[in-house]
């Protein structure tokens, strides 16, 4: 049975205990940052910051969104990785630290900006769903530490049931825009959000796509262009009719054959 976690942003109070728990459990160092006008800190996910709470000040209030790898079923990072270092471990997406060459392709393919490659490690790093804990039957570090139960871990089916129950409660209690994100996106995410608003309000793509879903057409486009170029300028200008003439030229200029 597939596991998943629920991220109920309507229960999050922005304490960022999850960020600290993540760093502590995974041995990631802190980052030196500067005040940039917001209490968000660090300013972005990075190779050593795998989750962070984003702050969104909208007209109707102040909202949070937990940002981390959402462990897509159809994962772009896995699709583009040239060495298959980015791979599926059951339903989760993990980086093989020994075979990653640090090309950065996964970081550019990810629709959620969740994969990062920075010095000094040089390899792709991201949330790995605390696989060591999950495989031992315990919840991820961030879920464990969450004081408001905004984060819940469990079987994906149960998580979805809980999400729908919560959604019903929210919509019938003055949150008409509340919605679930991640149930169907990219074959189903394994971090499922409850958002009080549109995904784009919280920096999430409305319709995330697999990076490679147009790849056949892209190849064909490139090859057609090459064919057109071969046919139009080159065939038109250099085809055989010039043969005799060019032969003369050729001999005159001292080519060898």
């Amino acid at each position: 049975m597939a596991k998943a976690a629920l991220v109920d942003m309507t229960k999050c109070m922005g304490c960022r205990g999850c960020q600290v728990a993540c760093k502590a459990w995974n041995g990631n160092s802190g980052e030196e940052t500067e005040f940039n006008g917001s209490y968000e800190n660090p300013p972005e996910l990075s190779a050593s910051t795998w989750t962070r709470i984003e702050f969104y000040e909208l007209e109707r209030g102040w909202f949070f969104r937990k940002h981390q790898c959402v462990h897509c079923t159809d994962a772009s990072c896995v699709e583009v990785c040239p060495t298959a270092a980015m791979h599926k471990e059951g339903e989760f997406v993990e980086v093989n630290k020994d075979t990653c060459i640090g090309c950065g392709y996964c970081a550019l393919a990810c629709p959620f900006d969740a994969v990062h490659r920075e010095p000094p490690l040089g390899i792709a790093r991201k949330c790995w769903f605390c696989l060591d804990r999950v495989q031992a039957g315990i919840e991820p570090a961030c879920v464990k530490t969450c004081p408001t139960d905004a984060l819940i871990f469990g079987e994906r089916d149960d998580i979805l049931k809980k999400a729908h129950a919560r959604l019903d409660l929210l919509t019938s209690n003055g949150h008409p825009r509340a919605q679930i994100y991640g149930e169907h996106e990219l074959g189903g995410l394994h971090w499922i959000y409850i958002l009080d608003g549109y995904p784009s309000d919280f920096g999430l793509p409305e319709s995330p796509r697999l990076a490679t879903n147009s790849i056949v057409g892209q190849w064909i486009g490139g090859l057609i262009a090459a064919g057109v170029i071969a046919a139009v300028p080159f065939w038109l200008l250099f085809r055989r009719k010039r043969r005799l003439h060019e032969d003369e030229e050729f001999t005159r200029t001292g080519g060898e054959r």
């Binding site: 040239p82 060459i101 640090g102 995330p208 490679t212 486009g221 490139g222 262009a225 080159f234 080519g255």
Partner: protein
């Protein structure tokens, strides 16, 4: 977040130019029934070091440069554009190197039959090389297009645009080398004809660029329209208008068309200067196109 910096856009430019020069020279030689082999040889000699410098930049850009060999030993995700590109590049450079060995080896072969069969093998390999040259220049675009950066993936035109630019810069590279080196292998008549071919390729590139821009503007993909604005009116606009539109397209197009059919009488003549300027502009413009697309793509969030 800037993941791919200068090494990558310079590499995409170099790989495109190497493959484009070879592909163009191969087509010229093929369509003129093998009478332009010196041109093919020159393009082959240019392609190998150019592609190798590009590969070196690519390796340097890796987070773990010393693990680059894993690209060649891992076979678990062979659909990855980067994996395919690595092999296409290897096959292209290998074909070129084998051809160079065969061409030079022919000198040490005594019998005429053996020389002929070496030439025939080189000829077959030149065709294989052309196939891989096309795949290499197409891959430089597919690499970007299979991502989640809207400027790269919102349309189907980035590979096509890169292919046209690769051939255009490739021809320019050959022309500049021939003009600077005062090459005897490439006649002045052939140089004029190559400049005419480049003008037609640039015309195709112009059409591609316009369709690409319109497509971006019309795309429903989040960030596509924003990417277009960044290119034509945002922080990448100077690069786009001066670098891509003027240097890569308009200036060479005007110069090449106004010199259409004219002969290069001597080094430094007006036509010589025009074709030289046009080709240098094409090369710089090609680099700036890679810069605008690679950097611009990563600026859109």
């Amino acid at each position: 977040m800037m993941v791919w910096g200068p090494p990558i856009w310079i590499y995409l430019w170099l790989a495109g130019m190497a493959g484009g020069a070879y592909f163009a020279a191969y087509l010229v030689n093929r369509f003129s029934r093998g009478t332009q082999e010196p041109l093919l040889r020159m393009a082959t000699y240019l392609a190998v070091p150019t592609a190798m410098i590009g590969v070196l930049l690519l390796i340097v850009d890796l987070g773990k440069p010393l693990r680059f060999w894993r690209l060649l030993t891992e076979f678990d995700n062979i659909g990855s554009a980067m994996w395919l590109g690595t092999w296409f590049l290897l096959a292209f450079v290998a074909s070129a190197v084998i051809m160079i060995i065969l061409w030079n080896g022919a000198r040490y072969v005594v019998t005429k039959e053996a020389r002929l069969s070496l030439a025939r093998i080189a000829d077959i390999i030149s065709g294989i090389g052309a196939l891989f040259a096309v795949l290499v220049i197409a891959y430089t675009g597919v690499l970007l297009a299979s991502s989640n950066q809207p400027l790269w993936s919102a349309t189907y035109l980035v590979p096509a645009l890169f292919v046209t630019s690769a051939v255009s810069t490739g021809i320019a590279f050959v022309i500049v080398t021939a003009l600077v080196g005062d090459s005897r292998a490439v006649s002045s008549r052939l140089i004029s004809r190559l400049a005419e071919a480049d003008a037609l390729v640039i015309l195709i590139e112009l059409v591609m660029l316009v369709v690409y821009a319109v497509w971006l503007g019309a795309s429903h993909m989040e960030g596509a329209a924003q990417g277009l604005r960044l290119l034509v009116a945002g922080s990448m606009a100077p690069t786009f208008w001066v670098g891509v539109v003027a240097l890569a397209i308009l200036i060479p197009l005007i110069l090449d068309i106004s010199n259409w059919g004219k002969e290069i009488r001597q080094r430094g003549s007006a036509t010589w200067l025009a074709i030289m300027t046009s080709s240098v502009a094409v090369m710089i413009g090609g680099l700036l196109l890679r810069f605008a697309v690679v950097r611009g793509g990563q600026l859109v969030v």
